[in-house]
Amino acid sequence: MSGHPTYQPQSAFMRWMERRLPIGGLIYSSFVVYPTPRNLNYWWTFGGILAFMLGVQIVTGVVLAMHYTPQVDFAFDSVERIMRDVNYGWLLRYLHATGASMFFLAAYIHMFRGMYYGSYKDPREVLWILGVILLLLMIITGFMGYVLPWGQMSFWAATVITNLFSAIPLVGEPIVTWLWGGYAVGNPTLNRFYSLHYLLPFVIVGVVVLHIWALHVAGQNNPTGVEPKSEEDTVAFTPYATIKDSFLLAVFCILFAWFVFYIPNFLLAPDNYIPANPAVTPTHIVPEWYYLPFYAILRAIPNKLFGVMALGASILILAFLPWLDTSKVRSARYRPLYRQFFWVFVIVCVGLGWLGGKPPEGNYVLIARIFTVYYFAFFLVILPVLGKVERTKPLPNSISESVLREGKPIGAQAPPPAGAKA
Protein backbone atom coordinates (compact mmCIF):
# COMPACT_ATOMS: atom_id res chain seq x y z
CA MET A 1 0.00 0.00 0.00
CA SER A 2 1.34 3.35 -0.88
CA GLY A 3 0.25 6.78 0.04
CA HIS A 4 0.05 6.60 3.81
CA PRO A 5 2.08 9.17 5.71
CA THR A 6 5.59 8.30 6.79
CA TYR A 7 6.84 8.59 10.33
CA GLN A 8 7.80 12.08 11.48
CA PRO A 9 9.55 11.95 14.88
CA GLN A 10 7.92 14.46 17.18
CA SER A 11 10.64 14.92 19.77
CA ALA A 12 14.33 15.68 19.54
CA PHE A 13 15.08 12.40 21.29
CA MET A 14 13.05 10.36 18.79
CA ARG A 15 14.71 12.24 15.90
CA TRP A 16 18.07 11.31 17.42
CA MET A 17 16.92 7.72 17.89
CA GLU A 18 15.42 7.35 14.44
CA ARG A 19 18.81 7.97 12.80
CA ARG A 20 20.36 5.23 14.93
CA LEU A 21 17.60 2.64 15.46
CA PRO A 22 14.41 3.34 13.50
CA ILE A 23 12.17 1.51 15.95
CA GLY A 24 9.70 4.39 16.12
CA GLY A 25 9.25 4.21 12.37
CA LEU A 26 8.84 0.45 12.49
CA ILE A 27 6.09 0.67 15.09
CA TYR A 28 4.47 3.57 13.24
CA SER A 29 4.37 1.75 9.91
CA SER A 30 3.37 -1.62 11.44
CA PHE A 31 0.81 -0.65 14.06
CA VAL A 32 -0.35 2.89 13.33
CA VAL A 33 -0.72 3.67 9.65
CA TYR A 34 -0.60 0.02 8.60
CA PRO A 35 -3.57 -0.39 6.22
CA THR A 36 -6.10 -2.99 7.36
CA PRO A 37 -9.10 -4.09 5.30
CA ARG A 38 -12.04 -1.94 6.36
CA ASN A 39 -14.42 -4.89 6.65
CA LEU A 40 -12.60 -6.90 9.33
CA ASN A 41 -15.05 -8.38 11.84
CA TYR A 42 -14.54 -9.39 15.46
CA TRP A 43 -13.18 -12.79 14.48
CA TRP A 44 -10.06 -10.89 13.41
CA THR A 45 -9.35 -9.68 16.94
CA PHE A 46 -8.10 -13.00 18.26
CA GLY A 47 -4.55 -12.48 16.99
CA GLY A 48 -4.21 -9.55 19.36
CA ILE A 49 -5.85 -11.55 22.15
CA LEU A 50 -3.32 -14.35 21.57
CA ALA A 51 -0.41 -11.91 21.81
CA PHE A 52 -1.89 -10.65 25.08
CA MET A 53 -2.30 -14.18 26.46
CA LEU A 54 1.29 -15.05 25.55
CA GLY A 55 2.36 -12.01 27.56
CA VAL A 56 0.17 -13.06 30.50
CA GLN A 57 1.62 -16.59 30.49
CA ILE A 58 5.21 -15.36 30.35
CA VAL A 59 4.79 -12.77 33.11
CA THR A 60 2.87 -15.07 35.48
CA GLY A 61 5.15 -17.99 34.56
CA VAL A 62 8.38 -16.14 35.31
CA VAL A 63 6.94 -15.05 38.64
CA LEU A 64 5.75 -18.57 39.53
CA ALA A 65 9.23 -19.89 38.71
CA MET A 66 10.56 -17.75 41.57
CA HIS A 67 8.61 -19.93 44.02
CA TYR A 68 8.53 -23.33 42.36
CA THR A 69 10.95 -26.21 43.07
CA PRO A 70 11.49 -28.70 40.22
CA GLN A 71 12.32 -31.69 42.40
CA VAL A 72 10.01 -34.68 42.83
CA ASP A 73 10.01 -34.46 46.65
CA PHE A 74 9.25 -30.74 46.76
CA ALA A 75 7.41 -29.86 43.55
CA PHE A 76 3.90 -30.63 44.80
CA ASP A 77 4.50 -28.91 48.13
CA SER A 78 6.02 -25.86 46.47
CA VAL A 79 2.89 -25.44 44.36
CA GLU A 80 0.76 -25.73 47.51
CA ARG A 81 3.00 -23.15 49.15
CA ILE A 82 2.39 -20.85 46.20
CA MET A 83 -1.34 -21.33 46.73
CA ARG A 84 -1.31 -20.77 50.50
CA ASP A 85 1.74 -18.78 51.59
CA VAL A 86 3.10 -16.71 48.71
CA ASN A 87 1.56 -13.25 48.52
CA TYR A 88 -1.07 -13.37 45.79
CA GLY A 89 0.37 -16.77 44.82
CA TRP A 90 -3.16 -18.19 44.44
CA LEU A 91 -3.98 -15.45 41.94
CA LEU A 92 -0.79 -15.85 39.93
CA ARG A 93 -1.15 -19.62 39.72
CA TYR A 94 -4.82 -19.50 38.79
CA LEU A 95 -4.04 -16.87 36.15
CA HIS A 96 -1.34 -19.12 34.72
CA ALA A 97 -3.36 -22.35 34.85
CA THR A 98 -6.57 -20.79 33.53
CA GLY A 99 -4.53 -18.65 31.15
CA ALA A 100 -3.41 -21.79 29.35
CA SER A 101 -7.04 -22.68 28.68
CA MET A 102 -7.83 -19.15 27.50
CA PHE A 103 -4.75 -19.21 25.29
CA PHE A 104 -5.91 -22.40 23.58
CA LEU A 105 -9.50 -21.15 23.34
CA ALA A 106 -8.32 -18.04 21.49
CA ALA A 107 -5.96 -20.10 19.31
CA TYR A 108 -8.73 -22.46 18.22
CA ILE A 109 -11.09 -19.58 17.39
CA HIS A 110 -8.24 -17.91 15.49
CA MET A 111 -7.66 -21.12 13.49
CA PHE A 112 -11.33 -21.73 12.74
CA ARG A 113 -11.55 -18.13 11.52
CA GLY A 114 -8.60 -18.73 9.22
CA MET A 115 -10.27 -21.86 7.87
CA TYR A 116 -13.67 -20.22 7.36
CA TYR A 117 -12.29 -17.25 5.46
CA GLY A 118 -9.57 -19.18 3.60
CA SER A 119 -6.78 -17.16 5.22
CA TYR A 120 -4.27 -19.94 4.50
CA LYS A 121 -4.46 -19.58 0.73
CA ASP A 122 -1.95 -18.03 -1.64
CA PRO A 123 -0.05 -15.84 -0.67
CA ARG A 124 -0.47 -16.68 3.05
CA GLU A 125 0.73 -20.32 3.11
CA VAL A 126 3.88 -19.59 5.12
CA LEU A 127 1.90 -17.42 7.52
CA TRP A 128 -0.46 -20.37 8.09
CA ILE A 129 2.33 -22.92 8.50
CA LEU A 130 4.01 -20.68 11.07
CA GLY A 131 0.67 -20.73 12.87
CA VAL A 132 0.62 -24.54 12.84
CA ILE A 133 4.17 -24.52 14.27
CA LEU A 134 2.94 -22.16 16.99
CA LEU A 135 0.11 -24.56 17.80
CA LEU A 136 2.57 -27.44 18.07
CA LEU A 137 4.84 -25.41 20.35
CA MET A 138 1.84 -24.44 22.48
CA ILE A 139 0.78 -28.09 22.79
CA ILE A 140 4.27 -29.16 23.89
CA THR A 141 4.68 -26.22 26.27
CA GLY A 142 1.22 -26.71 27.79
CA PHE A 143 1.84 -30.41 28.31
CA MET A 144 5.18 -29.83 30.06
CA GLY A 145 3.66 -27.15 32.25
CA TYR A 146 0.90 -29.53 33.28
CA VAL A 147 3.52 -31.97 34.56
CA LEU A 148 5.23 -29.46 36.87
CA PRO A 149 2.75 -29.50 39.82
CA TRP A 150 3.61 -33.22 40.12
CA GLY A 151 0.13 -34.33 41.07
CA GLN A 152 -1.42 -37.61 40.00
CA MET A 153 -2.63 -36.22 36.65
CA SER A 154 0.75 -34.57 36.07
CA PHE A 155 2.61 -37.82 36.57
CA TRP A 156 0.30 -39.96 34.49
CA ALA A 157 -0.04 -37.40 31.73
CA ALA A 158 3.75 -37.42 31.50
CA THR A 159 3.77 -41.23 31.43
CA VAL A 160 1.07 -41.60 28.79
CA ILE A 161 2.30 -38.85 26.49
CA THR A 162 5.97 -39.88 26.57
CA ASN A 163 4.84 -43.47 25.96
CA LEU A 164 3.32 -42.33 22.66
CA PHE A 165 6.87 -42.49 21.34
CA SER A 166 7.16 -46.16 22.33
CA ALA A 167 4.87 -46.92 19.39
CA ILE A 168 7.74 -46.17 17.01
CA PRO A 169 9.16 -49.48 15.78
CA LEU A 170 12.68 -50.46 16.94
CA VAL A 171 13.81 -47.11 18.39
CA GLY A 172 10.66 -46.42 20.41
CA GLU A 173 11.80 -47.80 23.77
CA PRO A 174 15.28 -46.17 23.70
CA ILE A 175 13.63 -42.85 22.79
CA VAL A 176 11.25 -43.09 25.74
CA THR A 177 14.12 -43.93 28.14
CA TRP A 178 16.01 -40.97 26.71
CA LEU A 179 13.05 -38.66 27.24
CA TRP A 180 12.66 -39.85 30.84
CA GLY A 181 16.34 -39.91 31.75
CA GLY A 182 15.56 -43.11 33.64
CA TYR A 183 13.49 -46.27 33.49
CA ALA A 184 10.29 -44.48 34.42
CA VAL A 185 9.05 -40.90 34.71
CA GLY A 186 11.02 -39.45 37.59
CA ASN A 187 13.13 -36.58 38.84
CA PRO A 188 15.25 -36.23 35.67
CA THR A 189 12.00 -36.00 33.67
CA LEU A 190 10.60 -33.28 35.92
CA ASN A 191 13.85 -31.31 35.75
CA ARG A 192 14.07 -31.28 31.97
CA PHE A 193 10.39 -30.51 31.55
CA TYR A 194 10.83 -27.50 33.81
CA SER A 195 13.83 -26.32 31.80
CA LEU A 196 11.97 -26.70 28.50
CA HIS A 197 8.73 -25.25 29.84
CA TYR A 198 10.68 -22.11 30.67
CA LEU A 199 12.44 -22.05 27.30
CA LEU A 200 9.66 -22.78 24.83
CA PRO A 201 7.52 -19.68 25.45
CA PHE A 202 10.42 -17.59 24.23
CA VAL A 203 10.71 -19.79 21.16
CA ILE A 204 7.01 -19.09 20.68
CA VAL A 205 7.74 -15.36 20.90
CA GLY A 206 10.31 -15.78 18.14
CA VAL A 207 7.91 -17.65 15.88
CA VAL A 208 5.20 -15.07 16.65
CA VAL A 209 7.57 -12.38 15.34
CA LEU A 210 7.95 -14.39 12.12
CA HIS A 211 4.17 -14.93 12.01
CA ILE A 212 3.51 -11.18 12.27
CA TRP A 213 6.27 -10.44 9.80
CA ALA A 214 4.70 -12.82 7.27
CA LEU A 215 1.32 -11.23 8.01
CA HIS A 216 2.66 -7.79 7.25
CA VAL A 217 4.23 -8.95 3.99
CA ALA A 218 1.07 -10.64 2.66
CA GLY A 219 -1.38 -8.28 4.34
CA GLN A 220 -4.45 -9.37 6.25
CA ASN A 221 -7.14 -11.45 4.66
CA ASN A 222 -10.70 -10.19 5.19
CA PRO A 223 -14.26 -11.57 5.26
CA THR A 224 -14.70 -11.24 1.48
CA GLY A 225 -11.37 -12.91 0.72
CA VAL A 226 -10.86 -10.23 -1.98
CA GLU A 227 -7.51 -8.45 -1.70
CA PRO A 228 -7.65 -4.69 -1.03
CA LYS A 229 -7.33 -2.84 -4.31
CA SER A 230 -7.59 0.83 -3.49
CA GLU A 231 -7.17 3.08 -0.48
CA GLU A 232 -10.93 3.04 -0.08
CA ASP A 233 -10.70 -0.65 0.81
CA THR A 234 -8.51 -0.06 3.85
CA VAL A 235 -8.41 1.93 7.05
CA ALA A 236 -5.47 2.74 9.27
CA PHE A 237 -4.58 0.17 11.93
CA THR A 238 -4.77 2.91 14.56
CA PRO A 239 -7.38 3.79 15.65
CA TYR A 240 -9.65 1.36 13.81
CA ALA A 241 -8.08 -2.07 14.45
CA THR A 242 -6.52 -0.96 17.73
CA ILE A 243 -9.88 0.02 19.21
CA LYS A 244 -11.68 -3.03 17.87
CA ASP A 245 -8.96 -5.34 19.22
CA SER A 246 -8.98 -3.56 22.58
CA PHE A 247 -12.73 -3.84 22.92
CA LEU A 248 -12.86 -7.58 22.34
CA LEU A 249 -9.76 -8.06 24.47
CA ALA A 250 -11.65 -6.40 27.33
CA VAL A 251 -14.63 -8.72 26.78
CA PHE A 252 -12.27 -11.69 26.65
CA CYS A 253 -10.62 -10.58 29.89
CA ILE A 254 -14.04 -10.59 31.59
CA LEU A 255 -14.41 -14.26 30.65
CA PHE A 256 -10.83 -14.91 31.79
CA ALA A 257 -11.43 -13.14 35.11
CA TRP A 258 -14.70 -14.99 35.62
CA PHE A 259 -12.87 -18.30 35.41
CA VAL A 260 -9.96 -17.10 37.58
CA PHE A 261 -12.06 -15.59 40.35
CA TYR A 262 -15.22 -17.69 40.40
CA ILE A 263 -14.46 -21.17 39.03
CA PRO A 264 -10.65 -21.45 39.01
CA ASN A 265 -10.72 -25.23 39.37
CA PHE A 266 -13.44 -25.83 36.79
CA LEU A 267 -10.89 -26.62 34.09
CA LEU A 268 -8.42 -28.38 36.39
CA ALA A 269 -8.60 -32.08 37.29
CA PRO A 270 -9.31 -32.72 41.01
CA ASP A 271 -6.93 -35.69 40.91
CA ASN A 272 -4.05 -33.30 40.39
CA TYR A 273 -4.41 -32.20 44.02
CA ILE A 274 -3.23 -35.71 44.97
CA PRO A 275 0.60 -35.96 45.00
CA ALA A 276 2.06 -38.10 42.22
CA ASN A 277 2.04 -41.81 43.01
CA PRO A 278 3.96 -44.03 40.57
CA ALA A 279 2.18 -47.13 41.93
CA VAL A 280 -1.42 -46.15 41.17
CA THR A 281 -2.96 -44.85 37.96
CA PRO A 282 -6.09 -42.70 38.51
CA THR A 283 -9.18 -44.59 37.40
CA HIS A 284 -10.34 -41.94 34.96
CA ILE A 285 -7.44 -40.29 33.21
CA VAL A 286 -8.09 -37.50 30.73
CA PRO A 287 -5.93 -34.67 29.44
CA GLU A 288 -6.84 -30.99 29.62
CA TRP A 289 -9.87 -30.03 27.54
CA TYR A 290 -7.77 -28.47 24.81
CA TYR A 291 -6.12 -31.79 23.98
CA LEU A 292 -9.30 -33.85 24.08
CA PRO A 293 -10.08 -33.86 20.32
CA PHE A 294 -6.61 -35.24 19.55
CA TYR A 295 -6.90 -37.68 22.45
CA ALA A 296 -10.25 -38.93 21.09
CA ILE A 297 -8.61 -39.59 17.72
CA LEU A 298 -5.82 -41.53 19.45
CA ARG A 299 -8.34 -43.70 21.29
CA ALA A 300 -10.66 -44.17 18.34
CA ILE A 301 -8.09 -46.37 16.62
CA PRO A 302 -7.70 -49.82 18.20
CA ASN A 303 -4.07 -50.20 17.12
CA LYS A 304 -1.32 -48.53 19.11
CA LEU A 305 0.99 -47.54 16.27
CA PHE A 306 -1.79 -46.33 13.98
CA GLY A 307 -3.49 -44.53 16.86
CA VAL A 308 -0.34 -42.57 17.59
CA MET A 309 0.20 -41.89 13.89
CA ALA A 310 -3.36 -40.60 13.57
CA LEU A 311 -2.82 -38.35 16.57
CA GLY A 312 0.28 -36.83 14.98
CA ALA A 313 -1.32 -36.65 11.55
CA SER A 314 -4.37 -34.83 12.89
CA ILE A 315 -2.11 -31.88 13.78
CA LEU A 316 0.42 -32.08 10.96
CA ILE A 317 -2.28 -32.28 8.29
CA LEU A 318 -3.12 -28.65 9.07
CA ALA A 319 0.22 -27.60 7.61
CA PHE A 320 -0.83 -29.02 4.23
CA LEU A 321 -4.19 -27.28 4.22
CA PRO A 322 -3.13 -24.58 1.73
CA TRP A 323 -2.56 -27.27 -0.90
CA LEU A 324 -5.36 -29.63 0.06
CA ASP A 325 -7.97 -26.92 -0.51
CA THR A 326 -8.05 -26.59 -4.29
CA SER A 327 -10.64 -23.81 -4.49
CA LYS A 328 -9.51 -20.43 -5.80
CA VAL A 329 -12.19 -18.67 -3.76
CA ARG A 330 -11.02 -17.85 -0.25
CA SER A 331 -14.02 -16.91 1.84
CA ALA A 332 -16.73 -19.38 2.82
CA ARG A 333 -19.20 -16.55 2.25
CA TYR A 334 -19.02 -17.31 -1.44
CA ARG A 335 -18.69 -21.09 -1.08
CA PRO A 336 -22.15 -22.42 -0.18
CA LEU A 337 -21.09 -26.08 0.01
CA TYR A 338 -17.78 -25.49 1.77
CA ARG A 339 -19.61 -23.47 4.38
CA GLN A 340 -21.77 -26.47 5.29
CA PHE A 341 -18.85 -28.89 5.38
CA PHE A 342 -16.94 -26.36 7.49
CA TRP A 343 -19.63 -26.15 10.15
CA VAL A 344 -19.89 -29.94 10.23
CA PHE A 345 -16.12 -29.95 10.73
CA VAL A 346 -16.47 -27.55 13.67
CA ILE A 347 -19.16 -29.78 15.20
CA VAL A 348 -16.93 -32.83 14.66
CA CYS A 349 -13.99 -31.13 16.38
CA VAL A 350 -16.11 -30.09 19.36
CA GLY A 351 -17.71 -33.55 19.37
CA LEU A 352 -14.30 -35.22 19.41
CA GLY A 353 -13.45 -32.99 22.37
CA TRP A 354 -16.54 -34.20 24.18
CA LEU A 355 -15.80 -37.84 23.32
CA GLY A 356 -12.19 -37.51 24.49
CA GLY A 357 -13.50 -36.93 27.99
CA LYS A 358 -15.75 -40.00 27.93
CA PRO A 359 -14.68 -43.54 28.83
CA PRO A 360 -13.40 -45.48 25.80
CA GLU A 361 -16.23 -47.97 25.50
CA GLY A 362 -19.42 -48.80 23.63
CA ASN A 363 -21.03 -46.17 21.45
CA TYR A 364 -18.51 -43.51 22.44
CA VAL A 365 -15.83 -45.42 20.54
CA LEU A 366 -18.13 -45.87 17.55
CA ILE A 367 -19.00 -42.18 17.34
CA ALA A 368 -15.35 -41.24 17.86
CA ARG A 369 -14.44 -43.44 14.89
CA ILE A 370 -17.06 -41.84 12.66
CA PHE A 371 -15.88 -38.37 13.69
CA THR A 372 -12.24 -39.32 13.15
CA VAL A 373 -13.07 -40.48 9.65
CA TYR A 374 -14.81 -37.17 8.95
CA TYR A 375 -11.90 -35.20 10.41
CA PHE A 376 -9.46 -36.73 7.95
CA ALA A 377 -11.93 -36.95 5.06
CA PHE A 378 -12.54 -33.21 5.39
CA PHE A 379 -8.90 -32.53 4.56
CA LEU A 380 -8.08 -35.43 2.26
CA VAL A 381 -11.31 -35.89 0.28
CA ILE A 382 -13.82 -33.08 0.75
CA LEU A 383 -11.49 -30.10 0.33
CA PRO A 384 -9.61 -31.35 -2.75
CA VAL A 385 -12.83 -32.43 -4.51
CA LEU A 386 -14.93 -29.46 -3.47
CA GLY A 387 -12.60 -27.02 -5.16
CA LYS A 388 -13.25 -28.74 -8.48
CA VAL A 389 -17.02 -29.25 -8.29
CA GLU A 390 -18.38 -26.40 -6.18
CA ARG A 391 -20.29 -23.56 -7.88
CA THR A 392 -19.18 -20.51 -5.99
CA LYS A 393 -21.17 -17.30 -5.67
CA PRO A 394 -19.95 -14.21 -7.55
CA LEU A 395 -17.27 -12.29 -5.67
CA PRO A 396 -17.61 -8.54 -5.09
CA ASN A 397 -15.30 -6.44 -7.22
CA SER A 398 -13.73 -4.94 -4.15
CA ILE A 399 -13.99 -4.78 -0.38
CA SER A 400 -15.54 -1.32 -0.53
CA GLU A 401 -18.19 -2.51 -2.97
CA SER A 402 -19.24 -5.17 -0.47
CA VAL A 403 -19.52 -2.85 2.51
CA LEU A 404 -20.14 0.68 1.14
CA ARG A 405 -22.98 2.21 -0.80
CA GLU A 406 -22.27 5.64 -2.20
CA GLY A 407 -19.35 5.96 0.18
CA LYS A 408 -21.41 5.15 3.30
CA PRO A 409 -21.36 1.86 5.17
CA ILE A 410 -24.27 -0.40 4.27
CA GLY A 411 -26.68 -0.50 7.19
CA ALA A 412 -25.58 2.88 8.54
CA GLN A 413 -28.20 5.53 9.20
CA ALA A 414 -29.50 7.13 6.04
CA PRO A 415 -27.68 10.40 5.36
CA PRO A 416 -29.72 13.60 5.48
CA PRO A 417 -31.26 14.10 2.01
CA ALA A 418 -29.89 17.56 1.32
CA GLY A 419 -26.24 18.54 1.30
CA ALA A 420 -25.08 15.01 1.87
CA LYS A 421 -21.53 14.30 0.88
CA ALA A 422 -20.96 11.32 -1.29
Binding site: W156, T159, V160, T162, N163, L164, S166, T177, W178, L179, W180, G181, G182, Y183, A184, G186, P188, R192, P278, A279, V280, T281, P282, T283, H284, I285, R299, I301, P302, N303, K304, L305, G307, P359, P360, E361
Partner: protein, 172 residues
Protein backbone atom coordinates in the same frame (compact mmCIF):
# COMPACT_ATOMS: atom_id res chain seq x y z
CA UNK B 1 34.35 -15.60 -12.25
CA UNK B 2 33.30 -19.24 -12.17
CA UNK B 3 35.36 -21.66 -14.15
CA UNK B 4 34.48 -25.23 -14.99
CA UNK B 5 37.70 -26.50 -13.41
CA UNK B 6 37.55 -26.93 -9.62
CA UNK B 7 40.18 -24.77 -8.03
CA UNK B 8 42.28 -25.18 -4.93
CA UNK B 9 40.02 -22.61 -3.30
CA UNK B 10 36.97 -24.82 -3.97
CA UNK B 11 38.76 -27.63 -2.22
CA UNK B 12 39.51 -25.40 0.74
CA UNK B 13 35.85 -24.31 0.99
CA UNK B 14 34.59 -27.89 0.93
CA UNK B 15 37.22 -29.09 3.37
CA UNK B 16 36.48 -26.23 5.79
CA UNK B 17 32.73 -26.80 5.60
CA UNK B 18 33.20 -30.54 6.16
CA UNK B 19 35.30 -29.99 9.28
CA UNK B 20 32.73 -27.50 10.59
CA UNK B 21 29.85 -29.89 9.90
CA UNK B 22 31.68 -32.75 11.59
CA UNK B 23 32.47 -30.56 14.59
CA UNK B 24 28.85 -29.44 14.87
CA UNK B 25 27.66 -33.04 14.70
CA UNK B 26 30.21 -34.08 17.34
CA UNK B 27 28.94 -31.46 19.78
CA UNK B 28 25.50 -33.04 19.53
CA UNK B 29 26.81 -36.25 21.11
CA UNK B 30 27.17 -34.91 24.67
CA UNK B 31 24.11 -32.70 24.29
CA UNK B 32 21.93 -35.70 23.44
CA UNK B 33 23.68 -38.26 25.64
CA UNK B 34 23.22 -36.16 28.80
CA UNK B 35 19.51 -36.88 28.64
CA UNK B 36 19.95 -40.66 28.92
CA UNK B 37 19.85 -42.30 32.40
CA UNK B 38 22.82 -41.13 34.43
CA UNK B 39 25.28 -43.36 36.30
CA UNK B 40 23.37 -43.21 39.60
CA UNK B 41 20.10 -44.09 37.92
CA UNK B 42 21.71 -47.08 36.25
CA UNK B 43 23.33 -48.13 39.52
CA UNK B 44 19.98 -47.91 41.30
CA UNK B 45 18.62 -50.43 38.80
CA UNK B 46 20.38 -53.33 40.51
CA UNK B 47 18.49 -56.63 41.03
CA UNK B 48 16.14 -57.01 44.00
CA UNK B 49 15.12 -60.12 45.93
CA UNK B 50 11.53 -60.91 46.83
CA UNK B 51 10.46 -63.38 49.52
CA UNK B 52 7.39 -65.28 48.33
CA UNK B 53 6.35 -66.92 51.63
CA UNK B 54 3.98 -64.18 52.84
CA UNK B 55 2.02 -64.03 49.56
CA UNK B 56 -1.22 -65.96 50.07
CA UNK B 57 -2.99 -68.03 47.43
CA UNK B 58 -4.71 -65.62 45.01
CA UNK B 59 -2.85 -62.57 46.30
CA UNK B 60 -1.01 -60.11 44.07
CA UNK B 61 1.78 -57.96 45.45
CA UNK B 62 3.49 -55.03 43.83
CA UNK B 63 7.23 -54.36 44.18
CA UNK B 64 9.35 -51.75 42.45
CA UNK B 65 12.38 -52.45 40.33
CA UNK B 66 14.00 -49.68 38.26
CA UNK B 67 11.03 -47.47 39.07
CA UNK B 68 8.72 -49.96 37.41
CA UNK B 69 5.97 -51.75 39.31
CA UNK B 70 6.41 -55.54 39.23
CA UNK B 71 3.38 -57.68 39.97
CA UNK B 72 4.00 -60.98 41.73
CA UNK B 73 0.80 -62.99 41.40
CA UNK B 74 0.26 -66.13 43.46
CA UNK B 75 -2.27 -67.70 41.12
CA UNK B 76 -5.01 -70.07 42.27
CA UNK B 77 -5.58 -73.44 40.61
CA UNK B 78 -8.59 -72.04 38.79
CA UNK B 79 -6.57 -69.13 37.43
CA UNK B 80 -3.78 -71.40 36.24
CA UNK B 81 -6.26 -73.63 34.43
CA UNK B 82 -7.94 -70.64 32.83
CA UNK B 83 -4.60 -69.35 31.65
CA UNK B 84 -3.59 -72.72 30.21
CA UNK B 85 -6.90 -73.63 28.55
CA UNK B 86 -6.81 -70.87 25.95
CA UNK B 87 -6.61 -71.27 22.21
CA UNK B 88 -3.24 -69.58 21.87
CA UNK B 89 -3.59 -69.07 18.12
CA UNK B 90 -6.55 -66.76 18.64
CA UNK B 91 -4.69 -64.35 20.93
CA UNK B 92 -3.56 -60.94 19.61
CA UNK B 93 -0.03 -61.68 20.89
CA UNK B 94 0.08 -65.51 20.85
CA UNK B 95 2.04 -66.98 23.74
CA UNK B 96 1.26 -70.10 25.80
CA UNK B 97 1.04 -69.70 29.56
CA UNK B 98 4.02 -72.01 29.94
CA UNK B 99 6.22 -69.45 28.19
CA UNK B 100 5.22 -66.81 30.75
CA UNK B 101 6.11 -68.64 33.96
CA UNK B 102 9.18 -70.54 35.11
CA UNK B 103 8.97 -74.33 34.69
CA UNK B 104 7.59 -75.99 37.81
CA UNK B 105 6.40 -72.65 39.21
CA UNK B 106 3.05 -72.36 37.47
CA UNK B 107 1.51 -70.61 40.45
CA UNK B 108 3.97 -67.69 40.35
CA UNK B 109 3.27 -65.12 37.69
CA UNK B 110 5.84 -62.30 37.72
CA UNK B 111 5.32 -59.45 35.26
CA UNK B 112 5.94 -55.77 34.73
CA UNK B 113 2.74 -53.97 35.68
CA UNK B 114 2.91 -51.43 32.89
CA UNK B 115 0.29 -51.45 30.18
CA UNK B 116 1.94 -51.99 26.82
CA UNK B 117 -0.32 -49.35 25.32
CA UNK B 118 0.75 -46.11 26.93
CA UNK B 119 2.31 -47.04 30.23
CA UNK B 120 -0.50 -46.85 32.77
CA UNK B 121 -0.63 -49.36 35.60
CA UNK B 122 -3.30 -52.03 35.11
CA UNK B 123 -5.37 -52.98 38.14
CA UNK B 124 -5.06 -56.62 39.26
CA UNK B 125 -8.09 -58.91 39.57
CA UNK B 126 -10.21 -56.79 37.29
CA UNK B 127 -11.75 -57.12 33.87
CA UNK B 128 -13.61 -59.99 32.24
CA UNK B 129 -10.69 -62.45 32.51
CA UNK B 130 -10.02 -61.79 36.22
CA UNK B 131 -6.53 -60.76 35.19
CA UNK B 132 -5.57 -57.12 34.76
CA UNK B 133 -7.52 -54.14 33.51
CA UNK B 134 -5.98 -50.83 32.43
CA UNK B 135 -8.22 -47.89 33.38
CA UNK B 136 -6.61 -45.47 30.94
CA UNK B 137 -7.69 -46.87 27.60
CA UNK B 138 -9.50 -50.07 28.48
CA UNK B 139 -6.95 -52.79 27.73
CA UNK B 140 -7.84 -56.16 29.27
CA UNK B 141 -5.26 -58.81 30.19
CA UNK B 142 -5.90 -62.38 31.37
CA UNK B 143 -4.41 -64.15 34.40
CA UNK B 144 -1.30 -64.85 32.36
CA UNK B 145 -0.92 -61.12 31.59
CA UNK B 146 -1.74 -61.66 27.93
CA UNK B 147 -3.58 -58.95 26.04
CA UNK B 148 -7.16 -59.99 25.25
CA UNK B 149 -9.06 -56.78 24.46
CA UNK B 150 -8.32 -53.12 23.90
CA UNK B 151 -5.64 -51.02 22.19
CA UNK B 152 -2.52 -52.51 23.81
CA UNK B 153 -0.47 -54.36 21.18
CA UNK B 154 1.49 -56.76 23.37
CA UNK B 155 1.25 -58.97 26.44
CA UNK B 156 2.46 -57.50 29.73
CA UNK B 157 6.25 -57.73 29.65
CA UNK B 158 8.13 -60.15 31.88
CA UNK B 159 11.08 -58.84 33.88
CA UNK B 160 14.25 -60.91 33.96
CA UNK B 161 14.04 -62.99 37.16
CA UNK B 162 15.06 -66.33 38.59
CA UNK B 163 14.10 -68.58 41.49
CA UNK B 164 16.83 -68.64 44.13
CA UNK B 165 14.76 -71.19 46.07
CA UNK B 166 11.11 -72.22 45.97
CA UNK B 167 10.20 -69.21 48.09
CA UNK B 168 12.57 -66.55 46.89
CA UNK B 169 13.09 -64.83 43.53
CA UNK B 170 15.60 -62.30 42.30
CA UNK B 171 14.31 -59.72 39.83
CA UNK B 172 16.81 -58.08 37.54
Amino acid sequence: MSSAEPTRRDFLYIATASVAAFGAAATLVPLIAQMNPDASTIAAGAPIEVDLTPIADGQVIKVFWRGKPIYVNHRTKKQIEEAQNVDVAKLPDPQPDSARVKPGHDQWQVLIGICTHLGCIPIAHQGPYDGYFCPCHGSVYDTSGRIRQGPAPLNLALPPYEFLSDTKIRIG
